[in-house]
Symmetry: C2
Subunit: 167 residues, 2 copies
DNA sequence: CTAGTTGCAAATGTTTTGCACAAAC
DNA sequence: GTTTGTGCAAAACATTTGCAACTAG
């Protein structure tokens, strides 16, 4: 559930996440995109995609592999990676590289957002701040450059960890 | 040479780079930090650090290895990586992970800055925008979180490539 | 039937490490 | 003379790929 917080002049930060399209809607979109591309729907692809859409956010390939194994022990790592790439090519997922060795994946959201990553508990909080987005465009204009995309990640200690008082 | 560009209300973007501390100053700092830590100065460390400080910015380990080989063909890859880590531990370099497989390294600058990366020519432009920094702090406050560091990279087509008109 | 898909194992690319030898302090 | 550093080759790690067998359309 998104929630608005009052904030400093000209700033509005939205924290949280709109109710996501449900898993079956996304599965339908996946099947449609596959058909468009002349590719096949298979049991493995369905299992992987359904687990991915159902499980939520910021999952790693390793975690996804473990989850998929529970319902279909036969799938291999290669198929996980190939299906993740396919979902990306269908614009149904986004790949993120936070400060770890491995990539994390999230279902594409209608809304663009950036991330706050807690360095203590690892929690990833999504937020949206239009003022920052506008300033990024302004920077690009000053460079006479064309801005296509950006990456912004804030790292620190989340409110819960601070409240828990563990230093 | 830093240069100021006029910009939209409340925004000031600084592009470019202050005259860097010179190589010998940085070498002196390196030797001092090594002594503090009870570590040794060696020919290899000096060769690697001097090449790194002299060569400028955003170099990869591979490029640094090639450059160092020119003046000291005997050094190994492992020593490059070990010296890069050491320089990081001495706060004399920063490691960056842009959208490539390999890390890039830059000498620590007195000024914090972020990067614009041209997706066509690969050029990396540094900039500084205090308004964005303030808004990042504001986001953290709204999350009741403590902001420790951030990563912001803008990707697009740089002014030179646009002017060159290649689409 | 046939193009597309899978699992496995092997390859990849970057970075790290174990270890015997060498060099600083 | 210890302690720390080095080079090499091998390991680690996340991800990709070749290939023969398989399966959806």
């Amino acid at each position: 559930m998104p929630r608005h917080e009052p904030s400093a002049a000209h700033t509005r930060t939205v924290v949280g996440r709109a109710p996501a399209a449900n898993t079956e809607d996304r599965m339908g979109a996946f099947h449609a995109r596959l058909k468009d591309k002349g590719l096949k729907s298979t049991g493995q692809r369905d299992d992987i995609a359904r687990v991915f859409f159902g499980i939520g956010r910021h999952i790693s390939a390793e975690e996804l592999y473990a989850e998929v194994k529970k319902i279909n022990p036969h799938v291999g790592y290669a198929t996980i990676y190939r299906t993740l790439r396919l979902l990306r090519e269908c614009d149904l997922l986004q790949e993120r590289h936070f400060d770890e060795g491995q990539a994390r994946y999230e279902a594409t959201d209608e809304r663009h957002h950036d991330h706050f990553i807690c360095e203590r508990c690892g929690k990833i909080i999504e937020f949206q701040n239009d003022s920052i987005e506008r300033l990024q465009e302004a920077v690009a204009r000053e460079l006479k450059a064309e801005l296509r995309r950006h990456k912004m990640e804030l790292y620190g200690i989340c409110g819960d960890c601070l409240a828990r008082g563990e230093r």
